[in-house]
Subunit: 241 residues, 2 copies
């Protein structure tokens, strides 16, 4: 497919996603489509054609801006519907028990902001989270992960390889995945497109290591000791917008 | 505690366990108590005292034989109550889904015959099994594991260390653990004291490795691909005996 055709295809899909409420995916498609179109326009020698393209691009940028405003609205916190305080060394908490009930058939898009994905146990936590998402959100179509870029000096490709494995696996399940790197990211947040936003102080990583390794809690995290952290579940007021 | 007192204590507990139906634990206590008493008697210089001891030991041996007969009766298969055929590459099976419903409040003792416990994933499977047992069998008091002894040339203490960790962890939860090594063991069997016996051709190890490592199914084994194996669930006819 030529760059122009690919851009066109992405922008058509962006409009479709927007219309059916998959606004995170629409946002990604608009951004990618516009970037592709821009690079294509720059190589267009015909001045008239280029101006026409730029006009078209301007329209798409306006739409992308509108989408961005909608996404930001969705990500705004509304009212707190639940709060859980996890104390140091508490047990009895796994993702399902804490927020599984908010993940449902109406969740078609998920945004996870999780700054730290560099250690094996952190990738495992991500997979654990996604397994719950796949189990509970039968109509999940899009997953966006925002994390800090990490280059392990001993294995520089490690993060990209691991996240690439996860992405490929989800895409085999017809879930579009977008990974974005943001070096200034600090806060942890899980946005569900059904309107719930889960904020955990420590993000997904609030478990202590199994100690000793082979003990109850190695697999079933309801038996794992936790680090102190607070969980707030918010519901966005603009869910219907 | 002197050897004699310890032996006495074990034999008293053996009788107590026998009376309340914890016959696997009673069997272990009888065997250990008798062995301890025997070693003690051998060092007794007084001929008359020794003969009196030996008479007492004879009584305990008779009781231990009676217990052994009862245990063997419990382990005899009765009728098949369920059968599951797992095909190569099937997904959708975890321990809970296959046999969790047979593990209940009435299960106070479990015997697991699992010949192969040498690799990390095999110890993980054992912990996974025990987490289910602890979750479902609220009154579990005794766990006997029979496996093949394995000496890793690079790390000769590995098996003992790992099983020791698991044992200590269960004992902190007031579950007595007995590990026996049998080099000729082949068949896999899970005996529950509520009368159910679970036979899985491959024992606990019927899962393929996660491939790639970070993919759905890494943690939640309902998404893991399986190896071909058959599961038969039996109910012992002498449950009430």
């Amino acid at each position: 497919m030529s760059a122009a055709l690919k851009a066109k295809d992405q922008l058509i899909r962006a409009v479709e996603c927007d219309q059916i409420g998959r606004i995170l995916e629409a946002q990604t498609l608009y951004q990618d489509g516009i970037a592709l179109l821009m690079s294509f326009v720059e190589t267009e020698p015909d001045e008239t054609k280029r101006k026409a393209f730029l006009l078209r691009i301007k329209e798409y940028i306006d739409r992308a801006d509108a989408i961005k405003a909608r996404v930001n609205g969705k990500l705004m916190l509304g009212e707190v519907v639940d709060h859980v305080s996890i104390e140091e060394n508490d047990t009895g908490f796994d993702y399902d028990q804490i927020f599984g009930k908010y993940m449902d058939d109406k969740t078609v898009e998920i945004l996870l902001e999780e700054p730290y994905l560099t250690q094996n146990y952190q990738y495992q936590n991500l997979v654990r989270f996604l397994e719950l998402a796949i189990t509970n959100c039968k109509n999940l179509k899009y997953f966006r992960l925002i994390t800090k870029e990490h280059t392990d000096p001993k294995n520089p490709d490690q993060q990209k390889t691991n996240l690439g494995q996860i992405r490929a696996d989800l895409e085999r399940r017809d879930i579009v995945v977008s990974v974005k790197y943001e070096d200034t990211l600090h806060d942890r947040r899980i946005y569900l497109s059904n309107g719930y936003i889960i904020k955990i102080g420590r993000g997904l990583h609030f478990y202590k290591a199994a100690n000793p390794m082979y003990s109850i809690g190695l697999v079933n995290y309801r038996y794992r000791k936790c680090l102190q952290t607070d969980v707030d579940i918010w519901r966005n007021n603009r869910t219907a917008s």
